[in-house]
Point group: C2
Chain length 207, copies 2
């Protein structure tokens, strides 16, 4: 029992943070199995044994990373609230998700990597925490539909569509850039995307 865990020193806190940052860089590109401890160590500017002094194993790094990720990743959906105006609420949810795809693409890709491979490490969280959260929000959307505030449709697949379209700009970034060409690959593409997505979701949900 390691119940008497002594508090982390200043260096331990800093170095653990440094390692997680480096690991996010590496894991989000190559996936868990495709990445090596050496790559992470080099990205963090330290030797492999030194890295393993701060994290017991490669799995340990990944688990820590994933735990933090899930918390921030669900934040936008948690904020999704039963507001007076569904249009305002849906619009701001889309904007938040799109901002996350723009500002945290590594986190999005890490998550996508995990799901693509069958979510072996986070399946309980998907079936538990995530499902309950979506169930709750789906009920809100359904109440809007019953009140005639928005058009009737499947709230679950509506949420899937918002996830898919927004995360696409993080996960499939290279494809988006390649197709848009160098001229349109600036940050402006997120503004264009926001306009299209608003038109798409708001326009089709008019009661």
């Amino acid at each position: 029992m390691e119940s008497a865990a002594r508090p982390l020193t200043r260096i331990q806190q800093e170095k653990r943070e440094l390692i997680l940052e480096a690991a996010l860089d590496v894991f989000s590109v190559h996936g868990f199995r495709g990445s090596t401890i050496d790559q992470v160590a080099e990205a963090a500017g330290m030797s492999k044994p030194n890295l393993l002094y701060y994290f017991r194993s490669k799995e340990d790094i990944h688990a820590t990373l994933m735990q933090r990720l899930l918390h921030t990743w669900l934040a936008p959906l948690r904020e999704f609230d039963d507001a007076d105006d569904p249009v305002v609420e849906i619009r701001s949810y889309i904007r938040r998700k799109l901002e996350m795809a723009r500002d945290y693409p590594r986190e999005s890709r890490l998550f996508a990597n995990e799901i693509l491979q069958g979510a072996p490490r986070i399946m309980p969280m998907l079936e538990g925490e995530l499902k309950e959260l979506v169930d709750e929000k789906a009920r809100i959307i359904e109440s809007w539909m019953r009140a005639g505030k928005i058009a009737k449709t499947d709230p679950y697949h509506l949420i899937f569509a918002i996830w898919a379209t927004t995360q696409h700009y993080a996960d499939f970034d290279v494809q988006v850039r390649a197709v848009l060409g160098p001229d349109r690959s600036g940050e402006g593409r997120f503004e264009d995307a926001a306009r299209l997505l608003e038109q798409l979701f708001i326009g089709s949900l008019r009661p």
Copy 2:
């Protein structure tokens, strides 16, 4: 120079096909770097040296697989035609893409894996063949908009949205199932998705 390549024997054709099928199973789940030749060989029911008799290397298998994939993957977009009725055309494109997500999820995931990791092996194809094809279809969509047949919007991001929403049901299948729960995880989810997506795209494109 191996310019005098003799034709493949019957066994060679069959075994190469068998290997590619097994490799699609393995690569689409674990990604290229996460998969081993041994895994592919076992899935194909043969020994590793035997597999390497039919393909020179692991890269060779992956390259062959990717080449075939790209051809079938672009087929739905190629069929996208300048029809009288944009609504019919867009609706059938969405249906075709959704059917591919349902019937060829392994291909979708293999493609997603490649893009996620920066598309190191197919970047030229994205910037060449794919971009030209999308440019062509974007022009068709723009002509529909100029003719007042559908609402004005960004054709590129419209295509991205169709890609994202349809492929989501292949790439993020485990998440979709986890959230929908066991009751709604049958094949019916594709029908529900089709309804939502039609409402989304057709509804918002009304001129």
